[in-house]
Symmetry: C2
Subunit: 169 residues, 2 copies
C-alpha cells in the first residue's frame, strides 16, 4: 500500500467536491461525531442543523474537526481532515430578528451585518447544491411527535487542512 499526502490545494479541491462529511465537536475531552451535509466556499464550510447536542456543545466549545473521504477498501482510500472553528450565523431574511448567539465572536455589534451576509450565502449555497429541502419535507417526526424544525445556520473555518490517499501498489 502506498500512502501519499495531498497538497493543501488538492485537499481543498477534494473538500470542495464533497457534500457529505463527518463533523466532530467535543465537550471537555469527550468527542462526538455526526454525519452532515455541507457546502465549501472560500475557506469556509457552510451547513445547518436543527438544535441538538452538537449545536449545544459547539456553543460551549467551537473547536471542530471535519472529515471527508472516499473509501474503497482498507488499502484504497482518500481522506481529508479539517481543523476549524464553529461560527453560528444569525437569522435574517425570514422576518425574524437575529437572535442572541452565545458565542463570543458574535458579541461584536459590527459582526451582525457580516453574519447576515454569511447566513444568506449559506442558505443560497445550500439551495444551489440541493442540500436544503422544502419545509413540507423537513418536518421531523421523532417518537411520533412532530418536532418543529429550527434550523441553525453555521459555518466552520478551514484553519488547517490535510489529506492522504492510499493505493495498492
Amino acid at each position: 500500500m502506498h500512502i501519499e499526502e495531498l497538497t493543501r490545494d488538492a485537499s481543498l479541491h477534494f473538500l470542495a467536491g464533497s457534500s457529505l462529511g463527518r463533523l466532530a465537536c467535543a465537550n471537555q475531552s469527550q468527542p462526538y461525531i455526526t454525519p452532515f451535509y455541507f457546502v465549501y466556499h472560500d475557506q469556509w464550510i457552510y451547513s445547518f442543523s436543527t438544535i441538538g447536542q452538537k449545536i449545544e456543545w459547539f456553543r460551549t466549545n467551537p473547536l471542530a474537526c471535519v472529515e471527508v473521504d472516499e473509501i474503497t477498501s482498507p488499502q484504497e482510500w482518500t481522506s481529508v481532515i479539517v481543523f476549524g472553528r464553529y461560527e453560528e450565523l444569525a437569522k435574517t431574511t425570514d422576518g425574524q430578528a437575529p437572535r442572541e448567539i452565545p458565542i463570543e465572536r458574535h458579541e461584536e455589534s459590527t459582526k451582525s451585518i457580516a453574519d447576515q451576509d454569511a447566513r444568506n450565502l449559506d442558505f443560497k449555497l445550500l439551495q444551489q447544491r440541493k442540500l436544503w429541502w422544502e419545509p413540507g419535507y423537513s418536518r421531523t417526526v421523532l417518537h411520533g411527535t412532530p418536532r418543529p424544525l429550527e434550523p441553525v445556520y453555521f459555518r466552520l473555518s478551514v484553519d488547517e487542512i490535510s489529506g492522504h490517499w492510499a493505493t495498492l501498489e
Copy 2:
C-alpha cells in the same frame, strides 16, 4: 421526514453489521476524526492502527466516539453513535514481549493476560472479517519512504450506544 430512535438492540445490531466507521478522539477540547475498519464483538469494538496522531491522543485521553452510518440522502439515513473508552492491547504471540503501554488501566499486572487474550481475539476477528491484510500489502510508503508498519491493536468499550434513522414520509 420521519426520524425514529433505534433501540439499544437495534443499534448494536447495526454496529455489528458494519465494518467501516469514523472514530474520534480529543486532545484537550480539539476533536479529531479518522475513518477506520473494525469488528464488533460482545460489547467491544476491535481494531488496529499504525502509530500516529490518533494513537498518541488516545494514550493521553481514552474518551472515544464511534459513528457508523448508511446515508442515502439528507432525508434517508441511519446513524449509530457509540461513546466509549480506548484500551490498547499488548503485543503477544508474534514473539515480542508485551511492550509498556502508558494507559492507566494497563498498569495492573493481572490485566496483561486478559490483554493478550483480547489482542489474540482482535487479530482473529480482524482476520475472519478480512480487515487485516498480509504484510506484503501493508508496507506503507509515505512520501516515497517506506514506513515500517507498527500495528497497534486496540479496542473500544461500548459504554453508551444510540441510533436514529430517517425516512421520507
